[in-house]
């Protein structure tokens, strides 16, 4: 078991639907999420000890856009706050670590992103090597295409396997009111579609999405005071592979394997896995690297293939898992967050219900 200085639980969470286009500002998108989590636990915002957000100025299209986002948590009195230029799942990680110090009780975490006004392909090509990759616009969809091709070449997956991931994700999303895409798709139908990024087709790739998510996490005593059904964060770990796609085995994820070991993933049952499957082949790699078998339900929400507001989408995986555990769909599970192209960076978060 992972040893923690402080037990930490999720006490409230909220997300927006995944919008194809949200025609208002990013703070206006976050604010209802913030208000909801504060209301859920009956707190005054002024009593929250620490606030942290994840967002991306390149997506927002404005320098210091993240400062404007603080409007969403209220401009006065000032907040004690931090920001990560990453998905809100990494804001959660910082909040979780901050609570380990033991001197504060509560953290408000949020993540937000609007992909619709710009081009995430162009923006996220800028997180690649600035000398040899970014100047040729090496974008995440291309790197996902390399990963898909590598899986096929290694005999580890087929285009049919990718289509099966898409069909299952869209079917699962039928019960998810926050999903942007959902429905019954046949594998044959999917395979008849033209390639967008051979060997990937359009639905192997995420939709363009806008959205936000927020949660409150708290130290153990405070968590029990604030709600009847805290969901415990048992461990979080973040690992990175090389940013040179040619220097790693794209058909595997060593960083996920290390993280899974560090969080003690198989120290208990893994009932549910909410995985950041941004491109369908990633699910095949993640299932393998996480060592998941038929006992784990993967992406019951539908996952990012059915709604992918970058910078909120990974935090949303944690929320979907927490909701499923609260609903009694499982007692323990793992949420996976990914950053960088082709699963370059991976974060795992193990959640457990109150027992």
């Amino acid at each position: 078991m992972v040893s923690l200085a402080e037990d930490v639980a999720i006490v409230a969470f909220e997300q927006t639907p995944s919008h194809a286009h949200f025609n208002d500002s990013e703070p206006a998108m976050i604010m209802p999420c913030v208000n909801s989590v504060i209301e859920q636990v009956g707190m005054d915002r002024h009593d929250i000890d620490f606030t942290i957000a994840g967002s991306c100025d390149y997506l927002s299209g404005m320098p210091f856009a993240f400062v404007m986002n603080i409007d969403a948590v209220g401009a006065w009195p000032p907040v004690y706050e931090s920001h990560v230029e990453m998905d809100g799942a990494w804001a959660l990680f910082e909040g979780f670590v901050r609570l380990q110090s033991g001197d504060i009780d509560t953290v408000l975490v949020s993540g937000s992103g609007k992909c619709s006004p710009g081009s995430y392909r162009e923006g996220f090509s800028l997180q690649t090597d600035p000398y040899v990759h970014a100047p040729i616009g090496l974008d995440p969809r291309t790197q996902a295409g390399f990963q898909a091709q590598a899986l096929i070449a290694a005999g580890k997956a087929t285009e049919r396997d990718f289509a099966e991931v898409v069909a299952r994700s869209h079917a699962n999303a039928k019960d998810n009111p926050y999903a942007q895409l959902s429905g019954d798709l046949s594998v044959e139908e999917l395979l008849a579609e033209p390639y967008l990024q051979q060997p990937l087709r359009r639905l192997d790739c995420p939709p363009t999405s806008d959205g936000a998510a927020a949660m409150i996490i708290a130290r153990a005593d405070k968590a029990r005071e604030l709600c009847d059904n805290p969901v415990w964060i048992r461990a979080i770990d973040h690992r990175i592979d090389s940013h040179h796609p040619t220097l790693r085995d794209l058909t595997d994820s060593p960083s996920v394997r290390i993280a899974a070991d560090r969080v003690g993933l198989h120290d208990g049952p893994v009932d549910i896995a909410e995985l950041t499957v941004t491109y369908s082949p990633e699910e095949i790699i993640l299932r393998d690297a996480l060592g998941l078998n038929g006992e784990t339900t993967v992406n019951p929400s539908g996952g990012p293939l059915t709604g992918s507001p970058f910078m909120a989408v990974c935090l949303t995986r944690v929320i979907e898992l927490a909701r499923a555990i609260r609903n009694g769909d499982g007692g323990r599970g793992v949420a996976h967050a990914s950053s960088g192209p082709a699963l370059q960076q991976n974060l795992l978060c193990v959640l457990e219900g109150d027992s």
Partner: protein
């Protein structure tokens, strides 16, 4: 009549980076028509690196020419190129192991738009752009049989700096409250939003009250006076940064319009000197003729009351408001 328009701009950052002892010669080589790899033990790395990717130990610069031919080890077809890609027609991105190298370079392969021409194991060959800048984009690849012989004129100085102008295009409609504010200006009206919680009036509204954390809508909007009080001013001496269009000093001020609780900042004054400005001075907006007004500079974040809607701001001649009464609004 002037009309509203979508927001459409490109956010640009001109990045310049030093290249260092390994990437510098690599980019110099590309400019001069050859590809260099870095020795690492008994291997050759291309793209070259300053460290051993397995042990992370530093490597002394030791560059060796590789290519110009190579083998495709992995590829994917870009059916819809982005504005940042090397080609505007469909092309392949590939892992290319150059002859003499042990690692692969990611780069673009132009097959004339034909995905059928791509395959793992195919031979490709480097081609150089006519205009080269010491960038990885100076080179691209084609199927070996399609390669043309090129005579490349080497440059003079080694490449020690690489420039990368990044541009992110943002395109979306004006948000509904921004559209109503902009339309108001075209109509010669200043529209504010009144907080349903505190009653304070904000100009322009942001679509929410960030003090009370409440969203605001059209129902919360009010027309405010176009007469107000100067609460702050300064003289701007334009620094010639990238993108600067101003050349001469001018006055910028903030005006608290009557009946509002938040000054409108960034109002530019061209016909008064900084010596003629006073905090507390009463000013009136003299609008341009309706057909001469434009709100092109108003996007979803920037743009309050731009010069393109007013002819000037004119002192009303009323007695000044004591500065002490404006302390809350001095911004």
């Amino acid at each position: 009549m002037p009309q509203l328009h979508d927001v459409d701009y490109t956010l640009e950052y001109p990045y310049t980076r030093t290249t260092g002892p390994v990437i510098g010669p690599f980019l110099t080589g590309l400019r001069d028509g050859r590809i260099l790899g870095q020795r690492c033990g008994d291997r050759v790395l291309c793209p070259p690196m300053e460290f051993d990717p397995d042990t992370f130990a530093s490597l002394e610069p030791d560059l060796v020419e590789v290519g110009p031919g190579g083998v495709v080890e992995n590829w994917t077809w870009v059916a819809e190129p982005s504005a940042k890609h090397p080609f505007d027609r469909p092309f392949g991105f590939a892992f290319i192991k150059l002859d003499g190298a042990d690692t692969a370079l990611v780069h673009a392969v132009d097959t004339g738009g034909d995905p059928e021409a791509m395959s793992t194991g195919m031979r490709v060959r480097a081609q150089y752009r006519d205009e080269r800048h010491g960038s990885v984009a100076d080179v691209y690849f084609v199927p070996e049989g399609d390669a043309a012989e090129q005579v490349i004129q080497p440059g003079d100085e080694p490449v020690t700096i690489t420039e990368h102008l990044i541009g992110l295009r943002i395109n979306e409609p004006l948000y509904p409250h921004r559209a109503r504010f902009a339309q108001g200006l075209l109509d010669g009206k200043i529209i504010g939003q009144r907080s349903p919680v505190t009653g304070k009036v904000y100009v322009p509204g942001r679509g929410y009250d960030n003090m009370s954390r409440v969203l605001m809508s059209e129902a919360d909007e009010v027309e405010v006076s176009d007469v107000g009080t100067v609460v702050a001013f300064t003289e701007l001496n334009p620094v010639q940064y990238y993108g600067q269009t101003e050349t001469e000093p001018y006055v910028r001020c903030s005006i608290l319009f009557d009946g509002t609780d938040q000054p409108v900042i960034g109002i530019d004054i061209r016909d008064m000197t900084v010596d003629e400005m006073r905090v507390g001075m009463r000013m009136r907006c003299i609008w341009r003729d309706p057909e001469e007004r434009s709100v092109e500079d108003i996007d979803n974040r920037y743009g309050n009351i731009p010069e393109t809607v007013y002819a000037r701001f004119e002192p009303t001649g009323e007695p000044d408001i004591p500065a002490d009464e404006l302390k809350e609004h001095s911004w």
